[in-house]
């Protein structure tokens, strides 16, 4: 029984260490900011989606990664 717990703890520690360097720093978003990384390549589609999102959620932005805004209005 105790051996099983040891394995569990070991797995938990290993699993948690995988999250130690999460996220991309604001100045490292070069690849994410590329135009072909957008959710949609068509600007009209994007504008419509953004408009619908804004109407529903009362907030906008967050679809691209080129800026540093907070995404609030």
């Amino acid at each position: 029984m105790t051996v099983k717990y040891h394995w569990l703890i070991l797995c938990a520690i290993l699993g948690a260490s995988g999250c130690s360097s999460l996220g991309v720093k604001p100045w490292e978003r070069y690849e994410l900011a590329r135009d072909d990384m957008l959710m949609d390549s068509d600007p009209v589609d994007l504008a419509l989606d953004e408009h619908i999102y804004f109407s529903k959620e009362a907030s906008s932005g967050g679809q691209g990664f080129a800026g540093g805004g907070c995404g609030c209005n």
Binding site: K25, P26, W27, E28, R29, Y30, A33, A66, G67, G68
Partner: protein, 145 residues
């Protein structure tokens, strides 16, 4: 006549940006001046908007009391050079491809700018660049001059 005008334009065009390695950055050497320190990258769209404004600041404020220092955070030098070919700059640029300085300043967004007074103290920090707020940015600089 056209050639003459072109030549004239070339002669009177503003001084081009000097690009240095980040290891050459010495903020202390600028003490006594108000410093506008700006972090930017070629892929950052608001940064592009801030360039014409920063260029105009250089021409409007006295060089002995005000200076603009910008830090480019592009991992690739080519991307920075390509950007500068399209968007000219007349202030000094320090290239920090590894983001060491950005890490020290703990940047939260791009662009981020700091307004540093003549004693070397950071007075203001702006995350992002908004053309609507340009008047406010200028007021803050003028208060320190």
């Amino acid at each position: 006549m056209k050639k003459f005008l072109l030549l004239l334009l070339l002669v009177i065009s503003p001084v081009k940006a000097e690009i240095y390695d980040i290891s050459q950055l010495d903020l202390k050497s600028h003490q006594g001046k108000v410093v506008y320190l700006d972090f930017w990258a070629s892929w950052c769209k608001p940064c592009r908007k801030s360039f014409p404004w920063m260029n105009s600041l250089v021409t409007r404020y006295p060089a002995d009391r005000f200076t603009i220092i910008t830090i480019n955070l592009d991992a690739e030098t080519e991307a920075m050079n390509h950007f500068l070919g399209k968007v000219p700059a007349n202030f000094d640029i320090y290239h920090d491809p590894s983001g060491k300085i950005a890490e020290q300043f703990e940047l939260e967004g791009m662009p981020t700018s700091y307004l540093i007074d003549s004693n070397g103290k950071v007075v203001k920090k702006h995350i992002g660049f908004y053309t609507k707020k340009v008047d406010q940015y200028e007021r803050e600089i003028e208060e320190l001059l």
